[in-house]
Point group: C2
Chain length 736, copies 2
């Protein structure tokens, strides 16, 4: 009963543990493992961290870490805030008294965890313990992760699953718990979800009233895409200010894997820096061209082949098993594509590592760009092929699809079943729509399922496998105790839940893959939704679930992520802009080509003319650019609470500086007095007259000496004006 | 003889005069004029300026101003530098001791003049005398201008007219004398001139070897335009840093003519500010649409009409006086166009004033945009009409030109001479080239001449007129003295040269009109040079002279300009980018249309197909965008002395701040001691054991109490590792 009490309590408490370090020594010699472990614990103690060691999984121990010395933590907080201020993230320098600074602006949980993580991983020179998981000296440290806050997680999921919309406060909550990087993903998805309501409603009406390929829907959809993309850019800034992270992407962090080639003296700082020649990097970057080509051609060829086979089977072949054989290409694609995709992604990662970027940001950007190219091909090429190759050139191409007859030859009863009609073949206009529906409904649902179910099954299978293994081992040796054997009974439940038995083995959450998913989804909307206006409706439903599913995924399927800061969704923003722009081309082309259900403007594909298509696309693109320019101007004029807050802070800092600096000017003598004083001391004039008569005064001195003080100038001026007036007055009178 | 000596000396010295204020009281009552004059002199004295009044031209006096009190000047310098620092123009705050600051960084002449000008014109609240020429209370102040430095001017013109290239030091010199705004114009023109060498050389070879409308020339020219535009953007930043003005365009100055409509409390500063509702401004800005339409249609119609008449006369009409009549449309254009242009420019100014911008920068931008649209129409429309209307559609249009027969009817001998051939009319492919040559050679030469000759004639004529007038007046009244009558004899020569007799009457130099000229010239190169590859050669010669002519113009024809700061050529940069982009469209279209001397790809205009033209343009534009993107990336990677200097300064400031702030952290206790201390005091453990046995310790306390200090953690860890190793060793041995 007591143990039961402990257990339920153990689900609530994290025992004040800040981070758990999993130390694995399976492949290390005992004495080396002990020595390294000692160094690890000592390093942690040196930065003010308390440690408790417990038995881990087989051949591993778990080190529980918490902050013992606030001084070290405060030092790191202060250092981080000063760095922020210098990079312009904060408007004012933090107060020099750290305790005071922390009282004025307490740490939120994500900030605390981030700073402790930095305390553990930063180089010694920067005040950290320099523990780099899985690298070099610390290869035994397999992971460093915080523990889930189960009580909060439960509330979170409960709250979200019962509310239609997320409020900004909900996002603030995520930011406080999981850091800005993940909060930005949720904020983006939430914004996107909210924006989707309009195209979903409009799409539904368009579907009911306007039919497919409606130019009106196309224009509205393109406008919506522009507004959403530009608005998000604005919103990003606003959120960045709200969360106090605007500009953090400017703070560059050195990439750990960077290999320097030479040491130069930085012309700016005068320090020795390790660099890599940028010409050499450029040469390596040029490998991106063959890579992009390969990434386009290999999956492209696969997709095109499967597409050809499918068209052949469905449109040409009319032998037996047609209804089954028609799934053959889909089968090929679903098995081969993930493998190919995996290989290419791996290749992209290797290439990016080889490009040897100095900063983490540059590496991420380069990798994201490559991943986007890969995903672009696999996601959109099938539809592009149907729309711009199959339909316009189907008549020409289909007869040549005989080559694919090999694939179904074994099933055909006679040659005739394999022969394409030499003429009179008509393309199937429904194919395009079916394809879009597949990608925007079926694939999304499958994807969502995979995201939740696969990790679950993996987790289950893994734990079962482990159970079996330890059972077998127990049978064999008879004595091998479970890792929990020497846990103190009171901690057992906590240890079992928290770290050893489950959390240590979970996957690490990667927010970019979720972001990629959203951006690719946006791509379908931007590029192809004119084919099937209900696309947005499907996405609206999907994304409502997606947001909640991602929350569950983070809480249940993954280790609690280490919070990171970000002030943008990063390179995906460029992908969004690119897709919006490309949408202006595809939508207009699709509307022109298919405006009469895939049969050209007057019901026959042959009436499609090249110049009209090109003119449509050309005009559409330029209208797009013009409209985007307008939207940007309007949005740039929008004010927002975040921007206002930022300006207010900067104004106050500026005002303070200005007042401090200018208070000096107050003490200066008023020169009006000086002017009058000169007039009073007539001695000066006498002195001057003497000098003049002696001829020692320079021409300049004489020039300025004629009128001493402003009152003399006025007197002379009065004379001049009166004289001039007197001279011209008779004339004036005469002319009157 | 003494007076001769004075005279030659007077040409060298400015008598230490900083500014001359011309005070005119022709339309003011005598007593009011005197009262206002008194206020003027007093206001100047109150900001520490010395004054000397002399008789001016009829019904005016000239007030010579120099700095009397350095404190006021220093105060203004300091204020200006603090403002710069706060806006990020300077990396560090200026030293608080002004005299020290000025010794460390002395004023250059342009800065001195600018600051004195600000001292005169700034509002009283900001420490100025609040004298606003020609406005409100100060309508009698017609101008405030510095005096020319004749010795320097002479050297300047001599130096420039004997050197082929201008060095950066020459530009620095201009910046020191005339301020950054004018220096930026010269720097831009000089960069452009240097860049022109390449297209001039390449154009010459293309003209000799490739002929007209060469695709190779077109591509090279487009690439050159992109590189020049992007490079200039980079260069601008570099120069801005070199001259210490980078970011000054962010310092917004309130526009004097701004009319507020309501007073609101600024949410940022909490101050009361006078604003104008932006929705109302937007409504007024919408008037730009009809304006742009009007500006396009009215001169467009005029140009098209003259063009039609010209085509009619030269191609259709074959009666008498043809060789003379053919100049009729040019005559109409040259007389009507400047008037129309003047009206429209005036209209544009009125519209911009009506739009009621708050800052000077916003006003300038809005006006420049309108002026660019106007100039675009008048400069490029004739060629665009020939290229894209006359040539492709000439066959269709020419027969309808009968309407213009009216213009030459009086001269025709019979109806036949006025009738267009109903068929068989062939367009004149040479017309386009002739037109380009006219605009890029003749018009440039004429323009250059006008710039120098017209002001000269104007000046001459004006002084002659004045001479005649005063002669007549002298005859009539017999007594009217020349304005110089009561000059002290020694100052007479100086006064006569400097201010009264000439400089006060010169025009005010406007740098934007010179910039506009250069940008429009660049437009011909970007848009049409493929028609006549020698364009760049003509411009190269023209611009060498132009640079010198502008120097002479500033020195001789104009008042010495008040120096202003700038960190860019402003909105003209956008015009450059726009022209570069448009060039990618026109060049590709021209190459396609005329690649066989205006007769289409296979020698006949009818073979030109719409889709091929559109495809050419479409591809060209996208290649352009792609290439520009590449150039931008490459240029963004370029380092430059200016950028390096800036980064060095910022680094040093940052380092200093960082070191100051972090010195606090040094004083913190090393926590390693803390950890060991805890281990030593065994009493803690006993205390803990006691609390535990009493059950008062929380679960958390018990968890963290098991291992006290890092050495205990190591000890426990060693046990765990050894045990795990011992348990698995037999298995390990077995598996071996």
């Amino acid at each position: 009963m007591a143990s039961h009490g402990f257990k339920s309590q153990a689900l609530q408490t994290n025992m004040g543990v800040d981070f758990v370090i999993s130390y694995r020594f399976a492949r290390t010699d005992k004495s080396v493992a002990i020595a390294k472990f000692e160094r690890l614990v000592e390093a942690l103690a040196s930065v003010g961290l308390d440690t408790e060691v417990r038995n881990g999984d087989k051949l591993s121990v778990l080190l529980f870490v918490r902050v013992a010395s606030d001084e070290h933590l405060f030092g790191e907080v202060y250092r981080s805030r000063v760095r922020d201020w210098i990079h312009g993230v904060r408007a004012a320098a933090p107060p020099k008294e750290t305790r005071e600074a922390l009282e004025g602006e307490p740490l939120y949980e994500a900030e605390r965890l981030r700073i402790i993580y930095q305390l553990i991983t930063n180089p010694v020179a920067e005040g950290g313990a320099s523990i780099t998981p899985k690298e070099g000296e610390w290869e035994n440290v397999v992971s460093i992760f915080p523990l889930h806050d189960h009580a909060y997680n439960k509330d979170w999921i409960k709250k979200w699953s019962t509310s239609y919309f997320l409020k900004t406060e909900d996002l603030d909550d995520i930011r406080n718990r999981l850091g800005e990087k993940i909060a930005f993903y949720f904020a983006f998805t939430q914004s996107y979800f909210t924006f989707l309501i309009f195209p979903a409603a409009f799409g539904l009406s368009a579907w009911l009233l306007l039919g497919h390929f409606s130019p009106i829907y196309g224009i509205v959809s393109a406008i919506w895409c522009i507004i959403f993309t530009e608005w998000w850019k604005h919103q990003e800034i606003d959120l960045g200010v709200r969360w106090g992270v605007r500009g953090v992407s400017r703070i560059e962090t050195k990439r750990k894997g960077f290999k320097h080639e030479k040491q130069i003296t930085d012309p700016v700082t005068g320090e020795k820096v390790l660099t890599f020649p940028s010409t050499k990097r450029l040469q390596r970057q040029l490998l991106q061209l063959p890579f992009a080509l390969g990434a386009a051609v290999v999956p492209g060829a696969l997709i095109a082949t499967c597409f050809g086979i499918e068209v052949f089977i469905s449109e040409v072949y009319n032998g037996p098993f047609k209804s089954i054989l028609v799934f053959l290409p889909t089968g090929i694609l679903t098995t081969v594509m993930p493998i190919l995709s995996g290989i290419l992604t791996n290749f992209a990662t290797q290439l990016t590592i080889y490009e040897n970027y100095e900063t983490h940001g540059a590496y991420e950007t380069a990798l994201t760009q490559k991943i986007f190219v890969l995903n672009f091909i696999t996601s959109y090429l099938p539809i592009l092929l149907t729309a711009f190759v199959y339909v316009p050139f189907g008549n020409i191409i289909v007869p040549y699809l005989d080559v694919f007859s090999l694939t179904v030859k074994p099933f055909a009863e006679d040659e005739k079943q394999l022969q394409a009609p030499k003429s009179g073949f008509t393309i199937n206009p429904d194919r395009l729509r079916k394809q879009v529906i597949y990608f925007t409904v079926t694939a999304q649902v499958v994807n969502l399922g995979m995201e939740l179910v696969v990790p679950y099954l993996k987790r289950r299978g893994f734990s079962k496998y482990k159970q079996m293994q330890s059972d077998r081992a127990a049978k064999r040796s008879g004595t091998l105790p479970s890792p929990a054997a020497n846990d103190p009974p009171e901690d057992a439940a906590f240890l079992s839940r928290a770290a050893k038995r489950s959390e240590a083995e979970l996957d690490v959450y990667d927010v970019t893959s979720d972001l990629r998913e959203m951006v690719l989804q946006f791509g379908y909307l931007s590029l192809f939704s004119v084919i099937w206006p209900l696309t947005a409706v499907s996405f609206l439903i999907n994304d409502w679930i997606e947001l909640r599913a991602d929350a569950i995924k983070i809480c249940v399927e993954m280790q609690r992520p280490t919070p990171w800061r970000a002030d943008t969704i990063g390179p995906w923003l460029d992908s969004l802009s690119f897709l919006t722009w490309l949408g202006s081309l595809t939508t207009s082309a699709l509307v022109y080509l298919f405006s009469n259900d895939g049969l050209g403007p007057d019901g026959h594909p042959s009436s499609i003319t090249g110049w009209a298509l090109l003119l449509t696309v050309f005009l559409s693109e330029h209208l797009f650019i013009l409209f985007r320019w307008g939207v940007r101007i309007v949005i740039s004029k929008l004010d927002s609470p975040g921007l206002q807050k930022e300006r207010r802070e900067r104004f106050l800092v500026r005002k303070q500086y200005f007042e401090e600096s200018l208070s000096l000017l107050e003490r200066m003598p008023k020169t009006k007095d000086v002017g009058e004083k000169v007039e009073i001391t007539r001695e000066n004039l006498e002195e001057d007259a003497r000098r003049k008569s002696l001829g020692t005064a320079s021409m300049e001195e004489r020039f300025w000496g004629r009128q001493r003080g402003w009152r003399e100038t006025v007197a002379v001026g009065r004379n001049l004006i009166e004289k001039a007036d007197a001279e011209t007055s008779p004339k004036r009178n005469k002319s009157q």
